[in-house]
Amino acid sequence: MAISSQQTVLIMLTLLAALSIGFLMLIITLRVQYNRRHAYENHLKDLWEPMVIAYLSDEVSDADITAAVGDGRRAKDVFARLISEYLTNLRGEERDKLVVLASSTGLTSHELNALRKNAPWRQAVAAVRLALMGDRQAIPALRDSLYDRSPLVQIASADALATLEDIDSLEPVAAVVLTQTEWNRLKTAEILVAYAKIAPARLLPFAFDASIPASRRALVIEAMGEVNYRQAETVLIDYARREIDPELKTAIVKYAGLVTALEAVDFLVEKTKEDDWLIRSQAAKSLGSIADPVAVPVLISLTRDPVWWVRYQSATALANILPEGLLALEEAAKASPDRFARDIAGQALYEAGEWQERAA
């Protein structure tokens, strides 16, 4: 049976209308569902927030709150979110109380269930919350999650174990986070800093482990610098004098600046002569952090470096060494035979003046 043009138009219009109505209904349904969920969650939050505040001032017991929250999964989700917000912002005794509340209201087991079986993002959220709740019973499950298929879950679990200061997890965590270059650099660095705070000596061997990519070993070294672990200084400086990856050398130069060890000045002066400008500029910056007047002549010579960034870091470092560096900088701005050195000295002096005004 042939279809006429009019019928075709009619069919098309009907299809268009049906499709439009379908999408419209979908959008409305999504919005209505969202609004309902939002209203329900706000209602619960309004109900429980005063109870939590009362609990913190011992006016309400955890049994009262457990009874109010009940066993419903959605209600527990809302409560877990509320408690996590408080745990993020509170410190001291109040925080400790909430940790107890989280455990007694069954939030830890609720989040442990979420960690075991869920969408990756929900598993990651569970790991974050378990870390906030500080319940060490979660450690075995978090260790298992280190081997989850999703990198999101792996890193969240590693982060949680570091937050829980589980020193025994250092090796499995490091085995996972340090061997994969694709991994989240920021989180890896933060995890390493967390472990460096509690056991820097156990972190040190990873800096020399040739099976780990240099970029990751550099993060280990920086983490030790961040926590001012000065005991690694000699061994790292010796290591940096060998033929090693420039990224590692830069990290050790940065470490020396972070731990501000006067003993490292000779080493840093040596590194200002490296061919790699990244190492030279980092050495200048580290010398500025240590602020030893001995470094002034070498920093002045670096204001004539062919690379602008090295000149800038050197001039800024000089402005940090008071008063010798600043005086040398003023002299360079007026009388250096090199135009670039004069200009960069002028800029550093201007910026130093501005900072001093701001500090005042």
Binding site: S4, M12, L19, A124, V128, L186, Y312
Partner: protein, 472 residues
């Protein structure tokens, strides 16, 4: 064979070509939608486990130079800078580049921020017109203003990159309005993955929003029909198009209104091309070319939630000019890297993204425009049955509706930036209406842009700015 028959044969052949083109284009769009849908949903889930305050406190962030080129922007420049200075990021500088404005752009900045000339050195690795002076503000130490001889937006950006101090730079339009935490969001991929060289963020239409003190306080829909069409268009382009291509690491466009780049890589690739109207796309295409040619591992990403708000033109003349200019820029960018086209050396970019953009986005307006015409002729001569013609037209409209409303559904399932259901309904209506007239007009503007590119015409076409003010 009589001439008439030859012509008719050609017309039938062209009809078949248009049909095949249509199927391929829409097939790709739909595939892209599925990819984007999965990608955006997974991103939104992932964000639930991210705590941005950690990035803010972390010592592993990378400082950012925000570059805002300004040419005759006296209407918006002071409020735009005010908004930029309120950004939430551990360490950043705002560099406004006054590109030889002939109005009071510079004077207003000097007055508003008590600017003073400062000594500032830089290593000149890119070409740009001479810098007259560099200013700083004693009250806002993170603000730098460069006054230079006029050379166009790309030239101004090259000057900004050169003077900038930090390893990452963010490019903006002078009337872009960034949400406070957007640098944290757009900067995250750089901190997480060292191989990221560029990241684009979503640009949304500010018309109809309540904006005060350089901040969007309430999101709404404007009264202007043209601006409403553009909201739907932007949602489709950013939520579907860019997310999809970025998932395959084949994103060819990062909007000039909002993008973050690794400075050393951009300098190594030669900076912005000052002879290209679409300097933003040209740079991204060239980054791909440069990095793939040097066999470097890299990633060009797109993050769908750091928002940059921009003003959309509300009159046909300005919008037409803008769209022609965009198409011209796209065409010039693609033509300048045509060696990548279907070249296996350039991987997915050469084999998939370039051919798609070249044949579908660049020449799309030609096929679409001639397609309408040839189809009418075919119908008139009875070469295609009315049934088939209507079926084709209907299918085109239906697919258009699916693609547009699909982006609204995705928006509703993820970011829900329009709080009022009424506003959503308006956008829904416009996502259907745009298929009847607006899309065809858009095709005409794009065709004009393509012709300009092929003829080598160069006109930047100034935009008329209205300034950010509360909605009427």
């Amino acid at each position: 064979m009589p001439l008439r028959q030859i012509v008719l044969g050609l017309i039938v052949g062209y009809d078949a070509f248009v049909l095949a083109y249509f199927l391929l284009l829409n097939g790709t769009y739909i595939a892209m939608n599925f990819i984007s849908f999965a990608s955006v949903r997974s991103y939104v889930g992932e964000m639930q486990a991210v705590r941005y305050e950690e990035i803010f406190r972390s010592s592993f962030y990378q400082p950012i130079s925000v570059l805002s080129p300004a040419y005759n922007e006296e209407q918006t420049v002071v409020s735009a800078v005010q908004s930029l200075l309120q950004l939430k990021y551990p360490e950043f500088e705002v560099i406004v580049i006054n590109d030889g404005s002939t109005d009071k752009t510079l004077e207003l900045l000097i007055e508003a921020y008590k600017l003073k000339k400062i000594p500032r050195t830089y290593a000149k690795k890119l070409d740009f017109e001479p810098i007259r002076a560099i200013y700083a503000s004693p009250d806002f130490p993170e603000l730098i203003v460069i006054d230079k001889v006029n050379g166009g937006k790309a030239d101004a950006l090259n000057a900004g990159i050169t003077v900038s101090k930090y390893p990452l730079f963010c490019t903006l339009d002078a009337d872009s309005l960034l949400e406070r935490d957007c640098l944290l969001k757009v900067g995250r991929p750089f901190i997480e993955h060292p191989d990221v060289v560029a990241v684009g963020g979503i640009v949304r239409i500010a018309n109809g929003c309540d904006i005060q003190g350089g901040e969007v306080l309430k999101i709404g829909v404007p009264r202007s029909n043209l601006a409403r069409f553009q909201i739907v268009e932007y949602l489709r382009a950013f939520l579907f198009g860019r997310v999809g291509w970025a998932t395959m690491n084949a994103l060819l466009v990062i909007s000039g209104a909002f993008g973050l780049y690794k400075k050393s890589t951009v300098i190594a690739a030669g900076g912005y091309d000052t002879h290209n109207v679409g300097e933003d796309m040209e740079l991204v295409v060239r980054l791909h070319r440069h990095l793939l040619a040097h066999r470097q591992k890299y990633r060009i990403a797109f993050v769908p939630d750091p928002v940059c708000w921009t003003q959309a033109p509300e009159d046909f003349k300005t919008l037409g000019k803008q769209r022609s200019r965009w198409q011209q820029g796209l065409s010039e960018a693609l033509l300048s890297s045509k060696q990548m086209l279907l070249n296996p050396r350039y991987g997915l970019v050469g084999l998939l993204a370039m051919p798609f953009f070249f044949f579908m986005e660049m020449f799309g307006p030609v096929v679409e425009f001639t397609g309408y015409f040839v189809f009418l002729v075919s119908w008139y001569y009875g070469l295609v049955s009315p049934f088939f013609a209507l079926l084709f037209l209907g299918a085109a409209i239906l697919l258009g509706v699916v693609l547009s409303t699909g982006s609204l559904v995705l928006e509703e399932m993820t970011f829900r930036r329009y709080p009022r259901l009424g506003d959503l309904m308006i956008l829904f209506a416009y996502s259907i209406l745009e298929n009847f007239g607006y899309r065809q007009l858009h095709t005409w503007w794009r065709l004009r842009g393509l012709v300009n590119a092929l003829l080598g015409k160069h006109s930047w076409g100034e935009m008329e700015r209205k300034g950010f003010s509360p909605p009427a």
